[in-house]
Symmetry: C2
Subunit: 264 residues, 2 copies
């Protein structure tokens, strides 16, 4: 099977023009088949505030009301997605920007039955992802770039976490490609100790993960990220790498990429 | 050759939720190969004003400064494009939303050498449009939906008139498909007399057009629209239809579509 890299970048890279450009250059130079998934960054929050909409958070999660969904669609699906696509095109990478509504790639349903009403938030229907459409693009050297927006197939756009989208794509394509899922962020990998940014786990196995959560080694924002990663592994993705965005340059030159490798 | 309909809709339809939904249903039901190109509407101007940016017009044309380009990219490339795509998906049409940066479909250059600095406005490089990429999507029953944004292949997004995009796509695909270019707007067709909305030209030939401009029958906003249309015809597109958006329902049921047919 051909190797396929699914790379997710977060807001901290997107918010920094020089960092973003360096990242896009590295991504463009990766010789393998590839997909990019991007998050939001501070632009959406800043625009919300300019328009007088205060972000509403419950348990650390943003509530997506109708106005917030508009902003998410404009900023993530429009501005950021197209800046990334035009940037990749400048580096010779034939990117195509997509939300999950485009070519019906990420069918989802509005999250229901939770104690909290998250608003227009979508949970992906993993078994409905059209892997053939994705393969059609990829095999024609067109590189999908996903904004964190999905749809319910009835005309409603929905806000969906970018880490979750990357996971869903990895699972949907695992039978067609040798998928490597890569979460890029602002740290070197999964830290062994929050006090020291330089010491990371080289690997974490599924069997080790629960203990690391229980003893407080892995906490806060790392938990949903690693939950997503190990979910992907449980669903058949061979490995997930959590690493600094700068590590992508290593991959594009076939060097050791660094970061923390998660596997079963 | 297979028939391909390239349909352009303008802001007046987009701004009206019920009109837009009816239009999308008609478009979704058209059995031929098809492309949709949409304009902007009032949303971009409204958002500009909310953010304190006053639209700057010179000779009836909007000047696109950096802030305006951001708004155009967000609203046209993000919000409106994705609302249309999700709406078409709900009607069973496998739409994919694109700007000209996506898959490098509309390479352009920033307009230079004019007396007026229009800002980030792009003129399309017609001979660089990758018709193969468009055909790949179309032949796989994926329906391209274009927002009026192009790029310069060096990372710069550009604002480009939607009528012009529809024309460029028609010309680029005329050797591969039997292309019908259709401009939908809020009138029944090209009026014979501005005082009477119900009496339109059934046809206008290239040879008749100059005289109709000279004698004042065709004026104002109709001139750039018809200039674009006859440009397409000069460049080899067989015919262009100018009609009310409601006429699309006729086409989807193979009835007589009405409107004004332009040809050589």
């Amino acid at each position: 099977m051909q190797k396929l890299l699914i790379v997710k970048i977060g807001g901290n890279i997107i918010d920094n023009e020089a960092e973003l450009s360096g990242f896009l250059e590295s991504f463009a130079h990766i010789a393998h088949r590839k997909i990019l998934v991007h998050g939001g960054g501070k632009t959406a929050s800043a625009l919300s505030k300019q328009l007088g909409i205060e972000p509403e958070m419950v348990n650390g999660r943003r509530i997506t009301d109708a106005e917030t969904l508009k902003i998410v669609t404009m900023v993530y699906g429009g501005l950021i997605n197209k800046i990334i696509v035009a940037g990749l095109q400048a580096f010779g990478c034939n990117a195509i920007g997509l939300t999950g509504a485009d070519a019906n790639i990420l069918p989802a349903h509005k999250r229901e039955g939770s104690d909290i009403d998250y608003g227009f938030v979508g949970d992906i229907e993993n078994d409905k992802i059209p892997s053939g459409t994705l393969a059609l693009l990829i095999e024609n050297k067109i590189v999908p770039v996903f904004a964190p927006v999905t749809h319910d197939q009835k005309g409603q756009l929905l806000n969906t976490n970018a880490d979750t989208i990357a996971k869903a794509l990895a699972v949907a394509l695992k039978d067609f490609y040798d998928v490597e899922l890569i979460y890029c962020f602002e740290k070197q990998g999964v830290l062994k100790n929050k006090e020291n940014e330089n010491i990371i786990f080289e690997t974490i196995r599924s069997s080790e993960y629960a203990a690391l959560k229980n003893d407080g080694t892995i906490t806060d924002g790392m938990i949903p990220k690693l939950d997503n990663a190990f979910d992907a592994i449980t669903m058949g993705v061979k490995s997930v790498r959590i690493m600094h965005a700068h590590g992508l340059a290593g991959i594009s030159f076939n060097h050791k990429p660094g970061g923390t490798l998660l596997y079963d």
